[in-house]
């Protein structure tokens, strides 16, 4: 037992150090302001990993979110996974992950950022595959790693283009250069960044890896696949926003991606039969919300929602972990009626669902409100998104918040109120241990505490509240009407078949081509040496046949040779 707490202590030490560093930065003015100095040379230097750490207020918030959730998850895991034979590697990878996350958020050196970015991806891969003896975990891990890594090539190229454009690989230096010499290559940089964040944050069309990552341990899902790593995509998009803010192409593309993803994720979440998978789709949808804010030209709203979502989604996943701990499954059908047996989990998760649905006064409401406000505000502005796009986006966002409220209510009802399934005795659902409840309470408190000081936008706030209330009401009404809320709409439950390119087409293509290549390599490319050897061997045998010791034949060879040489010589001359 005590050995487990070593890792908690390590995480706590890391968290403390990060907090000491980050907290004083929280109150500094400015949002990614241009500070510091970096000279722009003739061309970018060779890359280096100099620890150019610098925190902005927003970065400080994200760092605190990461280490906070990380610490809570580490504590939670002592109970949740403490008896797992591979607990040690699990706990160490979490710490490594946090280091990577701090590197991404805290640096101004793009290469350090990239290293942190990929280290996070690797940790995600390893942790999804923590239960590597199961096929789903292996498949999910491989898929997550491949999809995100391919998308990361976008970031790699984006960094190269930034370096070539501004002559430095320092974000601050590049910002200074762009303020002096003007922004350039914004469309290229923006699109490449978009590719990277679409992969990392599981946006359309690369969204499918995130739901498949759910075989990972639930605390990991809470930390990496809800609160921090996937949100790092949003952070990055916001961080590099100045480099592509003037490109309508990029912003429109981002808006389209966000619009499609948010509605699709919400609809998929609505029909899931598995709580964890439903929450995963909800994460996808919420991340799209944040991108919508960035596309609307207000990255600050996006990062605010990032923080709030990080808190309440971590809460939800950890709560989900408690439920799984109790009933041994994440299927909604196995739950139901857990309200009485698990009161602490019930109350904390209820707060989480409320925040997800956007109920006042949880932080979820305020930040969602800010996002909607940001989209509305950008409608009339010059530059950025076209007005039409903005309105479509706003409409989609409102529909999404309706669906979001609906599925949040549905999940809440089915998990805690529904009938107790047949196979499970009432006493089986027991409350989780204190080490697991504690983090839930902390996060629940944070869900309210973070609301303090949040802005409130009257017009859109009222609209949003009404829509959310409508969503909740529809579900509750249908529940009261006796519905089991098991909605199985075929194309939606099959997730529109969007997974197929990744699970069957791409692997089949790779297998087919590789088989061809292997065959060609053996039978095709290898022909010339083998043919050469064959010709040499045959010639050699032919030469042996000439050596008959038959003098007449020799004389003939000589005579013919002379004749050929003479004729050739005469022709040449």
């Amino acid at each position: 037992m005590s050995r487990r707490w070593i890792y908690v202590a390590l995480t706590a030490a890391l968290a403390t150090a990060a907090s000491i560093w980050a907290v004083p930065r929280l109150d500094e003015p400015g949002w990614f302001a241009y500070v510091g100095q970096g000279g722009a040379g003739d061309g970018p230097p060779l890359p280096s990993l100099s620890p150019d750490l610098f925190l902005y207020p927003v970065s400080a918030q994200v760092v605190l979110l990461a280490v906070g959730v990380g610490l809570l998850v580490q504590i939670y895991s002592t109970a949740y996974l403490g008896h797992h034979p591979r607990y040690r590697s699990y706990a160490l990878i979490i710490i490594l992950f946090l280091v990577g996350m701090i590197a991404v958020v805290g640096t101004t050196n793009l290469w350090v950022l990239l290293v942190g970015w990929e280290v996070m991806g690797l940790c995600s891969y390893l942790l999804i595959g923590h239960e590597w003896q199961t096929a789903e975990a292996r498949a999910g891990a491989a898929k997550a790693f491949l999809v995100t890594r391919v998308a990361d090539l976008g970031l790699l190229l984006a960094i190269l283009v930034i370096g070539e454009t501004y002559g430095t690989y320092d974000i601050v230096g590049a910002q200074i250069a762009s303020s002096q010499d003007g922004v350039a290559s914004s469309t290229a940089i923006g699109l490449l960044v978009l590719v990277a964040v679409v992969g990392k944050s599981a946006q359309f069309p690369l969204q499918t890896w995130l739901p498949d990552a759910m075989p990972g341990p639930t605390p990991i899902t809470a930390l990496i696949h809800a609160a921090t790593m996937v949100a790092a995509g949003v952070y990055l998009a916001a961080r590099l926003f100045p480099f592509y803010a003037d490109s309508t192409v990029v912003l429109t593309a981002m808006a389209v991606v966000a619009g499609i993803t948010m509605l699709m994720g919400a609809l998929f979440a609505l029909v899931q039969t598995d709580l964890k998978r439903a929450l995963a789709w909800s994460t996808v949808s919420q991340l799209a919300f944040m991108f919508a804010a960035i596309a609307a030209g207000d990255p600050e709203a996006g990062t605010d929602h990032l923080i709030s979502h990080g808190v309440f989604k971590a809460l939800l996943f950890l709560g989900c972990g408690c439920l799984m701990h109790a009933v041994g499954s994440s299927a909604l059908a196995a739950m139901g009626g857990l309200r009485r047996s698990m009161p602490a989990t019930f109350w904390t998760m209820s707060i989480g669902f409320a925040a997800l649905a956007g109920v006042i006064p949880t932080v979820g409401f305020f930040t969602k409100d800010s996002v909607l406000h940001a989209i509305e505000q950008s409608a009339g502005e010059d530059g950025g998104l076209a007005t039409g796009t903005t309105y479509v986006l706003l409409g989609v966002a409102l529909v999404t918040s309706f669906v979001t409220a609906a599925y949040a209510t549905r999940l809440w009802l089915r998990a805690f109120f529904g009938p107790v399934p047949d196979g499970r005795q009432e006493h089986h659902g027991h409350e989780a241990p204190r080490a697991m409840i504690g983090p839930l309470v902390v996060l629940a408190v944070a869900t309210f505490a973070l609301s303090i000081g949040q802005p409130f936008h009257l017009g859109i706030g009222v609209v949003g509240t009404v829509i959310a209330a409508g969503g909740i009401a529809v579900v509750v009404w249908s529940w009261r009407g006796g519905s089991t809320l098991e909605w199985t709409t075929r194309p939606l439950t099959a997730e529109l078949g969007l997974d197929r390119p990744f699970t069957s087409w791409a692997p089949a293509f790779a297998r087919g081509v590789s088989r061809t290549v292997v065959d060609l390599d053996r039978d095709g490319v290898d022909v010339y040496p083998r043919a050469g050897a064959g010709v040499a061997g045959l010639t050699s045998r032919a030469l042996e046949l000439v050596q008959t010791r038959n003098v007449q034949r020799y004389a003939t060879v000589i005579a013919v040779g002379v004749l050929v040489l003479v004729v050739a010589a005469v022709i040449w001359t």
Partner: protein, 475 residues
């Protein structure tokens, strides 16, 4: 100093071969490791800075041909030298085992020493002599100490391919020698024939698709140290040759586009080939072709960034592929085969440390940032993006795109390999044994090296920045 650094492993290697009956295997290996360590230290100490030729030795040799015994260490060759000596030390340490033949240690020393000679030569003919010197010992390593069927055939294929390539290089050297002399720091040629011949010759050695078919057989049948030396050191003779010769040839520009495209086609080709492999050693062998493709792409830009990329990529590949082959060798020692199907799943559970090392090596090889493999690939991509002096934009950017596809493929096949070997429901086998101390030392040293170069690439990159004249080779 350089002469001593070369002579020590040579002489000790020859003595071990002659006196193979008088020493036991482990003792021979320990002596060999000591000799290579001496060499490594001497090469480390000889360094005088990147603007001069360090430890230069220049005496007359064959005056009528203008060939001189001209040795020295430059900013380009120094990383190669240190990597080679380091790998040599590890190969000897690896052989500190009961069943080692002392002759094998001797051969390893001679091979390492000749490779060091190649990297130290500043005279083209001397370069070529060292280049050829290592080949026949390598034949013996593969044919005598290799495992599986057809070791002789694989060894002979390796040798004949390589010699065919190097014969072309020899003709190229003759052309260069006639045009500008044989001294690397003076000569230059405007001959197209030289460029074609030299590039074609080194393309066999590097290897570049479609001249690579000797490689998988040789690598997979060779003993562990043989595979390591082949991949870590021998392929570098090819890339180093290209790096060394590229600035000497004005008409390199005419060859460069073909070189670049062939390199990236190799990346994609080898990626697909790896995806279909069952034998781990063959997989690693094919992956080497891909990594060499990045280096070739970098060289073909003939730019400063490309030079840094090529050097870094070569050195990193040496370390990482050494690690992969040592790991594959450990598996082969245990299970008698490197077939992933035969090794079985779930190594994480069966031999955790070995599995973790393998995963780390695989992740390093697929170019994860923060590990050594990344910087070389990244700089290659950057060199292609910046196009350089000799390529055109369509060629360079097509190459860039193909290289990116290759990166994705590399990830795919290594993830597949990890899935097949490391993960999965463990099925215990009798041969399951985790790393012993000897293996742990060798693998640990390489892991540390990969991590250090990954997190702190400055020691090598600083040799090339700021981009000014680097004495000797890089002009």
């Amino acid at each position: 100093m350089i002469v001593t650094a070369l002579a020590v492993p040579f002489v000790i290697g020859l003595l071990l071969m002659v006196g193979r009956a008088r020493v036991s295997g482990p003792v021979a290996a320990a002596i060999g490791a000591a000799a290579m360590t001496v060499s490594l230290l001497l090469y480390a100490l000889v360094w005088e800075g990147r603007d001069v030729v360090s430890g230069e030795v220049d005496t007359s040799w064959i005056e009528p041909l203008g060939a001189r015994l001209h040795l020295g260490v430059t900013a380009v060759s120094w990383p190669f030298l240190l990597m080679t000596a380091f790998i040599g030390v590890l190969c000897c340490l690896w052989l500190v085992a009961r069943d080692t033949a002392p002759a094998l240690v001797g051969l390893v020393l001679v091979i390492s020493a000749s490779s060091l000679g190649v990297f130290s030569s500043l005279d083209l003919l001397l370069f070529f002599v060292f280049f050829e010197l290592a080949l026949i010992p390598m034949w013996f390593v593969i044919a005598w100490f290799g495992t599986g069927d057809g070791t002789r055939r694989a060894a002979t294929r390796f040798l004949l391919f390589t010699v065919a390539g190097s014969a072309l290089v020899l003709v190229g050297i003759v052309v260069i020698g006639l045009d500008g002399g044989l001294q690397v720091d003076e000569t230059v040629t405007g001959s197209l024939a030289a460029a074609v011949l030299v590039c074609l010759g080194f393309a066999v050695k590097t290897p570049i698709v479609p001249l690579h078919t000797w490689l998988p057989d040789a690598h997979s049948t060779a003993p562990t140290v043989g595979s390591v030396l082949l991949a870590a050191v021998f392929l570098k003779l090819g890339t180093y040759g290209l790096i060394l010769f590229a600035p000497l040839m004005d008409r390199f520009a005419d060859v460069a586009p073909y070189l670049a495209i062939a390199g990236v086609v190799g990346i994609v080709w080898s990626g697909f080939a790896c995806y279909g492999q069952d034998d781990l050693k063959r997989l690693v062998a094919y992956s080497s072709i891909g990594h060499m493709g990045f280096v070739v792409l970098a060289i073909s830009t003939r730019s400063d960034v490309g030079l840094a990329a090529a050097v870094f990529g070569s050195v990193a590949h040496g370390l990482i592929t050494g690690l992969l082959f040592f790991t594959a060798g450990s598996l082969k020692d245990r299970f008698g085969t490197a077939s992933m199907a035969a090794i079985g799943r779930g190594l994480y559970g069966r031999t955790p440390w070995l599995a973790v090392t393998f995963v780390l090596a695989a992740v390093a090889s697929l170019g994860l940032p923060g590990l050594a493999g990344f910087w070389g690939e990244l700089l290659s991509l950057r060199a292609a993006y910046e196009i350089g002096d000799v390529l055109t934009k369509p060629v360079a950017w097509t190459a860039l795109a193909l290289a990116l596809v290759g990166v994705a493929l590399t990830t795919a096949y290594f993830v597949r390999a990890i899935r097949l070997v490391a993960q999965g429901e463990p099925v215990e086998q009798d041969a399951d044994r985790d790393l012993d101390r000897r293996e742990a030392v060798v693998l640990g040293a390489l892991v540390v090296a990969v991590l250090v170069l990954g997190l702190w690439p400055a020691p090598i990159l600083d040799l090339f920045e700021p981009f000014t004249v680097v004495a000797g080779v890089a002009r």
